[in-house]
């Protein structure tokens, strides 16, 4: 089995749209092949790791595909991360080569000059403008090498919401199994599809659900390196995008800029969200603006992508749907399946479950169980027909006098207040009740509201134990690049 995910697509078929430029599959294969030749010439081979530092640009795609092509493991990293984060992640991964986008040239120079990279191979993929760094390419393209599907293909850092981010190792088989599920889902993912690529490619949803699945079926993808909802809408209209994979903050800002009954997304036949909670208002707003029914999926880095999907999030608020074919799912408490209707930790078993965390057998053993089950660390509740609702990360749940409080539920209520823009809720130690609920909110521009009024607002809508003991107004809430709340920073 060769490692080339874009083999077989017609050479003249468009693969990527970047700005005014169209890159065909033929051109893409050529750039990838020449970069692969450059990597091989530099001593990179099967089993090595190639870090790719780039935002959603051509260099990301060519860098990752070239790494896979030589049988190496691709380690994607966003160019827009703070340097300290990038350096730590590079140190985790110990790459043999680092491919950087033009925007990350400085970092690349720093890597080379400080010997962060063993082989000293740091540069741009073929086709990049010249800079202080070399372009890593051979004169002629090298074909992809055969690869064992069980070999590592990609290393992705998890969001690290409950602790330090961990480097999850995904094999070729993991990636393809998850891609197969998306293709089989019936989202119209085939060669005629046009996808929209603003969702960061260094996260599993952007990488596997979006980028690699679209390339696998020979679809084309519009790239947007820096998220901007207004220009994004123009791109969607101009290229007649048919499929959009995005996260709630993106959908929310799209609905804000578009207003009611916009025709910008007329061409879209498949639109989905995931990665963080979709507020029902956002689903409604997207419908009002674009006439689109959002599908909401649930998946993890550790499952290489989506494991459950709810086709109509607007009509089933809070639902992430039923397990996709090929996915086994159960809710577990104290090692036993829960009673119907009870909360439990979500366990998943499917062939896209990852190999383990890099160099961390202890963390791996906590998550991957002997019989193939993967503990997600997410708590959910299931309806009688198997529909799954997420309650929250297990470690985020707040225990008030023995009662469990899901932060998302309280955040949702706070966000219903007209003055509140966003809320994050965490547990604080309490000598009497064990923990108490503490809320942090940002306000709508120009609004003022007393914390006591917000507490009263909650009291009218939530059971006593869920009502925050304190509400603090802050200027900014800690969120990750895809909008996940970093509660740890507030505790």
């Amino acid at each position: 089995m060769d490692s080339d995910p874009i083999a077989g697509h017609p050479a003249t078929a468009p693969a990527l749209f970047e700005g005014e430029r169209t890159i065909t599959y033929g051109e893409l294969r050529d750039i990838v092949g020449r970069t692969a030749g450059g990597l091989t010439g530099g001593g990179v081979g099967p089993g090595d790791r190639v870090a790719v530092v780039s935002d959603n640009e051509l260099t990301f795609v060519t860098g990752v595909l070239a790494a896979l092509s030589v049988g190496a493991t691709a380690c994607p990293l966003p160019a827009s991360s703070p340097d300290e984060v990038l350096v730590t992640r590079l140190a985790d991964v110990e790459p043999t080569a680092v491919l950087v986008s033009p925007a990350a040239t400085e970092l690349g120079v720093a890597c080379r000059d400080h010997d962060l990279v063993e082989a000293g191979l740091v540069g741009h993929p073929a086709g990049s403008p010249s800079s202080d760094l070399p372009t890593i390419e051979a004169a002629s393209p090298m074909p992809a090498v055969p690869v064992d599907l069980t070999a590592p293909a990609v290393i992705l850092h998890t969001s690290g919401i409950i602790g330090a981010p961990r480097a999850a190792v995904l094999t070729h088989h993991n990636l393809r199994a998850a891609q197969d599920r998306m293709i089989a889902y019936g989202a119209g993912l085939d060669a005629s599809a046009v996808g929209f690529g603003a969702l960061p490619f260094n996260h599993v949803m952007g990488l596997n659900v979006l980028l690699l699945t679209h390339l696998r079926v020979g679809a084309s993808l519009v790239l947007q390196a820096r998220w901007n909802p207004v220009s994004a809408l123009e791109l969607v209209e101009r290229h007649r995008v048919t499929s959009i994979v995005a996260v709630p903050p993106m959908w929310s800002s799209w609905a804000d800029v578009a207003g009611e009954a916009s025709g910008a997304m007329q061409s879209v036949t498949f639109a989905r969200t995931g990665a963080s909670t979709l507020h029902p208002d956002v689903a409604d707003a997207v419908y009002d603006s674009f006439g689109i029914e959002l599908a909401q999926g649930y998946g993890l880095t550790e499952t290489a992508g989506t494991v459950t999907m709810e086709p109509a999030a607007r009509r089933h608020p809070g639902s992430v749907g039923r397990p996709l074919p090929g996915v086994e799912l159960r809710l577990v408490e104290d090692g036993e399946p829960v009673q119907p209707g009870d909360r439990g930790e979500i366990w998943v078993r499917t062939d896209s479950v990852f190999e383990g965390y890099l160099d961390d057998p202890v963390a791996t053993a906590e998550v991957l169980l002997a019989d193939g089950w993967c503990r997600t660390g997410d708590v959910g509740i299931q309806d009688d027909d198997g529909t799954l609702y997420l309650v929250g990360r297990s470690k985020d749940l707040i225990n008030v006098s023995g009662f469990n409080v899901a932060p998302v539920e309280v955040e949702s209520v706070l966000q219903q207040h007209e003055s509140v823009s966003a809320a994050v809720v965490v547990g604080e130690p309490d000598p009497v009740s064990g923990e108490r609920v503490a809320a942090f909110v940002t306000l709508v521009p120009g609004a003022t509201v007393a914390p006591e009024a917000l507490i009263e607002h909650c009291r009218g809508r939530l059971s006593g134990y869920k009502v925050p003991s304190s509400v603090r107004v802050v200027d900014r809430l800690p969120l990750t690049a895809i909008g996940k709340r970093v509660r740890a920073q507030l505790r």
Binding site: D342, D384, S463
Partner: protein
């Protein structure tokens, strides 16, 4: 029956030919003179005993005088049911085991005083229990439910079964939380007899606002049930632990 020989004193084995009166029969039957007398007698007896137990009640203003209502209470003693059935201003119905219908002593008395017989055991048992409870509410009556499903042996308040949530969301009837204190000292869970002294208290709380719960799915049922358990814990003063009191007898409900 063993080897064709009836054992004296034992209840006959449960069989589907046992005639278990349905909810309507029991409720309407309670109006018959002999049953009203039985009820009045049990009521007098219990109220006499309640004085020895120094029973006090507060929150009666939260109990609707008429119409369907679910009283959700903590459960630590056999004595809880008589107190709720006979010491409140209105009749409160409870569900009881169908085996009571087999003994001549209880066959007429229990339905007369407010106990609806239910075939226990497995899914059908759980289903019949909830359907019967629904029936009671549809007749505009008050029904007593112990969400813990069994008497708490460690005195703590345990996770509630979602049947309570199912019942409330399905019937639209209000839930009134009730905290009972002191009954475990009068008759502990494993004791056969009750004492003639005690210090009991029933605290009735405000009706749970049901508008908070959109939908009637499992999530809503669990949410309602948890919130009721919180209110009960405030009224009973018990510490709450988020696990069932014992492996539940009530199995899944088919909706």
């Amino acid at each position: 029956m063993v080897d064709g020989v009836a054992t004296v004193g034992a209840l006959p084995a449960a069989d589907s030919t046992r005639r278990v009166p349905n909810v309507a029969d029991v409720i309407l039957g309670a109006e018959r003179p002999q049953n009203r007398i039985a009820h009045a007698a049990m009521q007098s007896l219990t109220r006499l005993l309640s004085r020895r137990w120094q029973l006090t009640i507060n929150g009666l203003e939260h109990l609707p005088a008429s119409g369907p209502v679910i009283l959700a209470a903590n459960h630590t003693s056999f004595v809880d049911s008589p107190l709720l059935m006979f010491c409140l201003p209105r009749r409160v119905w409870f569900l009881g085991k169908a085996e009571y219908m087999d003994s001549w002593r209880t066959r007429h008395l229990f339905p007369a005083v407010g106990m609806i017989p239910i075939e226990r055991g497995g899914r059908r048992g759980a289903l019949s229990a909830l359907r019967a409870a629904l029936g009671v509410l549809e007749h505009g009556q008050a029904i007593g439910i112990y969400p813990e499903g069994t008497r708490s042996r460690d005195g703590k308040l345990h996770r509630g079964h979602t049947g309570l949530g199912w019942l409330a969301l399905r019937s639209g009837a209000p839930i009134v939380p009730v905290g009972i204190q002191g009954t475990a000292e009068v008759q502990p869970p494993d004791a056969a007899l009750f004492k003639l002294a005690g210090d009991c208290h029933i605290a009735i709380g405000r009706e749970i606002p049901m508008s908070r719960y959109p939908g009637r799915d499992r999530r809503a049922q669990r949410s309602v049930t948890d919130d009721v358990m919180f209110e009960i814990s405030q009224l009973s003063g018990q510490q709450y632990v988020d696990h069932y009191a014992e492996p539940p007898e009530l199995a899944e409900v088919e909706l």
